[in-house]
């Protein structure tokens, strides 16, 4: 089968690789119909995530058709069209039982700090991912969700990660009616967070980035205010001023460890690797939220640690809420929003690329070329 092959930082290719096999009685093999490249994949692509081994296949956002199921799979049937949450979850451990499907205790032996994720390095379990014609899906009775027949397949693939992540970012903000919400990062996740924030009743949503085409896109798609931090002398002062010198009620970090905008953070985190990436957006979030405010973090930071102004969290009495999105928990609500036409996930898609051209697709997204927001890869496996 054709699959992505990681060869080292900034080097990926598509090539023929062995078919995945059923390795556990609750596994399924899924033939991938659509798969996306995520901002999280860029952290791998840039060599930022420890234990990203050469020869791995990335990809945690995919839909497909069930080709084969293991002997203990009862609910899922061959031929089912499914969307597969990016987290691998057993559904039985205490974390899963409490809805923390991004923190399953039975899917990643390599680290306790993160649950299993498809195609996301050995730090997240060493699973091959969905940027391939076929993929092994563990705990097939739990994660995969049958796509409602009337749903557009492009909407379905975005429900595997971007939509629930953006939604959870807003949910964790504990937004109250009338609040001012600031979202850092106008990538697919930030744009979706800004859009979903409105479900919770704020009066203002502001998005911050430094890429003009993305700000323009966000303004239209998410009905929000959008500002370029490169045009601000000091983003924190800008946001204080924009909130009557009070601070935002809720700040949301949708940037993660590859932030720009602060020389010390960039140098220590992205050049010298003395911390796990640059925590610039998180720093701005902490410093521009009001006293007693909430900082919600979905931007990804890796181990072991980052430089953040913890004293300010303490002295301002800030509540920080963060997690990998619990996709399965949110799906019923989000499928409802999509089917009712309140959310238009596929509106984020700007590029459709055959799997064969994956090297170009990564570069396009990584360098933010050709006004790229979200890329869908289409594998051509006919069978």
């Amino acid at each position: 089968m054709l699959a992505m092959n990681y060869r080292g930082p900034y080097r990926v290719r598509a090539e023929q690789r062995p078919m995945p096999e059923i390795l556990h009685p609750e596994d399924a093999i899924v033939r991938v119909t659509r798969t996306c490249i995520c901002g999280s994949d860029l952290h791998l692509y840039h060599g930022m995530v420890p234990d990203t081994r050469v020869g791995s296949t990335f990809g945690h956002e995919f839909t497909g058709i069930v080709e084969e199921v293991g002997p203990l799979v009862q609910k899922l049937k061959v031929g089912d069209q499914v969307l597969v949450p990016f987290n691998i979850a057993c559904g039985k451990c205490n974390f899963c039982k409490q809805g923390l499907y991004g923190n399953c205790h039975e899917s990643n032996p390599m680290a306790t700090a993160v649950g299993g994720i498809f195609g996301y390095s050995h730090t997240a379990g060493g699973f091959n991912g969905g940027q391939a014609e076929y993929v092994r899906v563990p705990y097939a009775d739990f994660g995969p969700t049958v796509i409602p027949p009337q749903m557009d397949p492009d909407d379905a693939v975005l429900l595997t990660d971007v939509v629930p992540t953006g939604y959870q970012a807003a949910e964790m903000g504990g937004i109250k009616e009338g609040d001012t919400v600031v979202v850092f990062g106008a990538g697919p996740v930030g744009i979706m967070a800004a859009r979903c924030a409105w479900f919770f009743g704020p009066s203002r949503v502001i998005i911050i980035d430094h890429v003009d085409y993305r700000l323009e896109f966000a303004r239209n798609y998410a009905h929000c205010e959008a500002y370029n931090f490169k045009e601000m002398a000091d983003p924190v002062v800008f946001l204080k001023k924009a909130t009557d010198w009070y601070g935002a009620d809720v700040c949301i970090d949708c940037v993660g460890c590859e932030a720009e905008g602060n020389t010390l953070q960039t140098f220590s985190g992205r050049v010298a690797l003395m911390q796990a990436g640059a925590a610039t957006a998180l720093q701005w979030a902490i410093n521009s939220v009001k006293k007693g405010g909430i900082v919600s973090v979905v931007g990804v930071y890796g181990p072991p640690f980052n430089l953040v102004p913890f004293g300010n969290i303490l002295n301002k009495g800030i509540t920080v809420r963060a997690n990998q999105s619990s996709v399965k928990r949110l799906l019923p609500r989000l499928i409802d929003h999509v089917m009712a036409g309140r959310l238009n996930p596929k509106g984020l898609i700007t590029h459709r690329v055959p799997l064969e051209e994956i090297s170009d697709a990564y570069r396009l997204f990584s360098s933010k070329l050709d006004n790229c927001i979200k890329t869908v890869l289409i594998p051509s496996a006919k069978h």
Binding site: G55, L72, N94, Q98, G99, E106, P109, M110
Partner: protein, 160 residues
């Protein structure tokens, strides 16, 4: 581990001010109290271990499922095995893993060549996209590089 003081419920005021509504993880977490059962929960069958799996020091046993891609091998594998002797808390777990990743890249090149293929690095890096959509920047960088080269060369010659 059992609580040291089995009689803790007799401590004056024990539990008096507990407020079940004070649950800062709501609604992300549906608190059930099962956390106190620790890792005693129902499990699936065990996936048989067919390749070498490096396991976190912070777990007693392997998880019921796991990925089997790219098992540790070569020099990078030796370094990864060393890294996994230390917990996730330690620098000496993560830093060696990053080092192993960099070495692994060269091992990958050697593997490719051994299999009789010279990887097309320009294509793998998707550089055609930069040329297509970001040409002025590519040219600027090339000019900068050439200029630096010429200046260095001139300085070097003068020293002689």
């Amino acid at each position: 581990m059992k609580a040291k003081n089995e009689e803790y419920k007799n401590i004056p005021g024990w539990g008096m001010d507990a407020d079940p509504e004070n649950e800062p993880t709501y609604p992300m977490k549906n608190y059930t109290g099962d956390d106190h059962k620790r890792i005693n929960y129902e499990r699936s069958e065990q996936q048989p271990q067919t390749v070498e799996i490096l396991m976190s020091k912070e777990r007693p046993v392997i998880t019921r499922v796991f990925g089997t891609s790219a098992p540790p091998s070569g020099l990078s594998g030796v370094i990864r095995r060393y890294a996994f002797q230390h917990s996730e808390d330690r620098y000496r777990h993560w830093v060696p893993l990053i080092l192993a990743d960099r070495i692994n890249m060269f091992e990958g090149l050697i593997d490719d060549i051994k299999q009789g293929r010279l990887p097309n690095i320009i294509k793998e890096r998707g550089l055609a996209m930069e040329w297509k959509y970001n040409r002025t920047n590519v040219i600027k960088k090339a000019v900068e590089l050439a200029a630096t080269g010429i200046i260095l060369y001139a300085l070097f010659k003068r020293k002689k």
